[in-house]
């Protein structure tokens, strides 16, 4: 697989003509957005002044109209960007991968992963699916939300998860369920109380204490089978997951169910979206696209999912 620096080279060399063109569009677009913004603000100001009241309503209309206008304005540019930058980037890693800018990993898989509570609304985009070294892999951007009712009976939405969701074949046979979550209890409440809280988590299976201190510090493991959890999480895999977590620099949720490994990396933002107010040629902007893609597609190699055991051949 191509390295991050090779991909960066590809981004700046092969995609340069496209980027230059997009960069022009982007400048025009940001100009237009600012103009529309000023125009909308003026109208809102006038409306608020002449109505003398209904400020809440005006503010609501201002935000809603602004949002719609923004979406409408960036729509073509976003599509163009995804088709001429993200898609070639993915294909430069592996040309057999399929990419769809509008669909996402199915809700069934998201719920089946048992990583989060079931959402009331699931959206997402940038779906990639294919085989790497004979391992089926699919991932996409996901945004899972839950509906709540506040005391006034109004609906509010909270985010359960937003980020990258990866599903891949796993190379070992197992029957149970093993779930690896970021260790928040132990880092907030200290080892003793944290562990007590974790072992009394009613929503999860039995707590599995792992024998790798640095892994145990970052993650907490729940499983319905103590031995199977350790069969899956060998010393080598624990080390690799730890490296993966450090590489992603975001909270990582992992579960092993059925024949698959599910990974959710919480970025708390929509990924692979074109930058509007910053240049596409900026190194930091480019690196974000390249690194995220490399991380997702590199899972197979990184976790050595392609090294199948005898019984799975």
């Amino acid at each position: 697989m191509k390295s991050v620096s090779e991909l960066t080279d590809f981004y700046y060399k092969n995609l340069y003509p496209t980027l230059e063109k997009l960069e022009k569009d982007r400048k025009n677009l940001s100009h237009r957005i600012v103009m529309v913004g000023i125009f909308l603000t003026l109208i809102a100001g006038v409306a608020a002044y002449s109505l003398k009241g209904f400020y809440e309503f005006v503010l609501f209309a201002y935000i809603a109209l602004g949002g719609i206008a923004y979406k409408f304005l960036v729509h073509d540019y976003t599509h163009e960007f995804k088709m001429s930058v993200i898609k070639p980037l993915i294909h430069s890693i592996d040309s057999s991968l399929l990419y769809s800018s509008t669909t996402h990993v199915s809700e069934y898989l998201f719920e089946y992963s048992h990583l989060f509570s079931s959402p009331d609304k699931l959206s997402g985009n940038d779906y990639v699916k294919g085989q790497i070294d004979g391992i089926n892999i699919q991932f996409s951007d996901l945004h899972a939300q839950k509906k709540h009712q506040n005391s006034k009976g109004k609906d509010t939405w909270t985010t359960i998860f937003q980020g990258l969701f990866i599903v891949a074949d796993f190379n070992k046979h197992f029957n149970g369920e093993t779930i690896v979550l970021p260790d928040t209890a132990q880092s907030t409440f200290g080892e003793l109380i944290g562990q007590w809280l974790q072992s009394n988590n009613a929503a999860r299976d039995e707590l599995v204490k792992m024998d790798d201190p640095s892994f145990e510090k970052e993650f907490v493991v729940y499983s319905d089978n103590q031995i199977e959890a350790r069969y899956i999480l060998s010393h080598a895999l624990m080390k690799k997951l730890l490296d993966f977590k450090h590489k992603s620099a975001h909270p990582v949720y992992i579960s092993f169910i059925g024949t698959h490994i599910y990974m959710a990396i919480s970025y708390d933002k929509d990924l692979f979206e074109p930058s509007v107010f910053r240049s596409l040629l900026e190194y930091k902007v480019a690196m974000e696209y390249v690194k995220t893609l490399h991380l997702a597609i590199g899972v197979v190699e990184e976790l050595k999912l392609n090294q199948k055991l005898w019984s799975k051949r």
């Binding site: 103590q226 350790r230 005898w310 019984s311």
Partner: protein, 184 residues
């Protein structure tokens, strides 16, 4: 209600909880040891097959093969203690390791489909054993902690619970193979 009665009830409750937690820890250890036993048995079942397939070729390692066979028959005897099982497991692991290294010296063995299959099966069983051992060690650690820490230690000494032995994991087993060292 008198205060002394409340204190008595609370005290009794604490004692019952302590007793139950110790018993559940002891049972967890036994429960996991049973699983360890199952995977160990899986490996014992592979040994005769392995010895039969390699003995034709391995002229110089006859003693090694005899040793493994002997260890196996010892380990499969009925009524041996958990401690003995643990000790025998360590010996069998190292003996099997030596056989696997020796196989490398025989090209015709390495190419043999049957041996290759056995090698892979053994490898998979080893992984299962390693997982079971780790689970067992963790449950023993929890148990040993409980019987040595205050306040459960008092209860444990009344119940005559003693420390249990863990599987020693070979240091070389835990380290990744250093390729550089192999060739130097």
């Amino acid at each position: 209600m008198s205060t002394s009665l409340i204190i008595l009830v609370v005290l009794a409750l604490i004692l019952v909880l302590m007793y139950n937690s110790l018993v559940s820890k002891k049972n967890q250890v036994e429960n996991i040891f049973a699983s360890v036993d199952t995977v160990l048995k899986k490996r014992y079942d592979l040994i005769p097959n392995l010895v039969a397939s390699v003995s034709k070729y391995m002229e110089h390692e006859k003693s090694l093969l005899q040793e493994v066979t002997k260890l196996r028959s010892e380990a499969t005897k009925p009524n041996i203690s958990d401690g003995e099982k643990i000790a025998l497991d360590a010996k069998i692991s190292s003996a099997l390791g030596s056989i696997m290294v020796a196989v490398e010296a025989y090209p015709e063995l390495k190419a043999n489909e049957n041996v290759m299959h056995l090698q892979h099966t053994l490898h998979e069983v080893e992984e299962q054993i390693s997982a079971a051992r780790r689970a067992y060690n963790q449950s023993v650690t929890d148990y040993n902690n409980a019987i040595e820490m205050i306040p459960t230690s008092f209860m444990a000494s009344l119940m005559r619970y003693g420390r249990k032995q863990v599987f020693e994991i070979d240091v070389s087993e835990r380290q990744n193979v250093n390729v550089k060292e192999l060739f130097s």
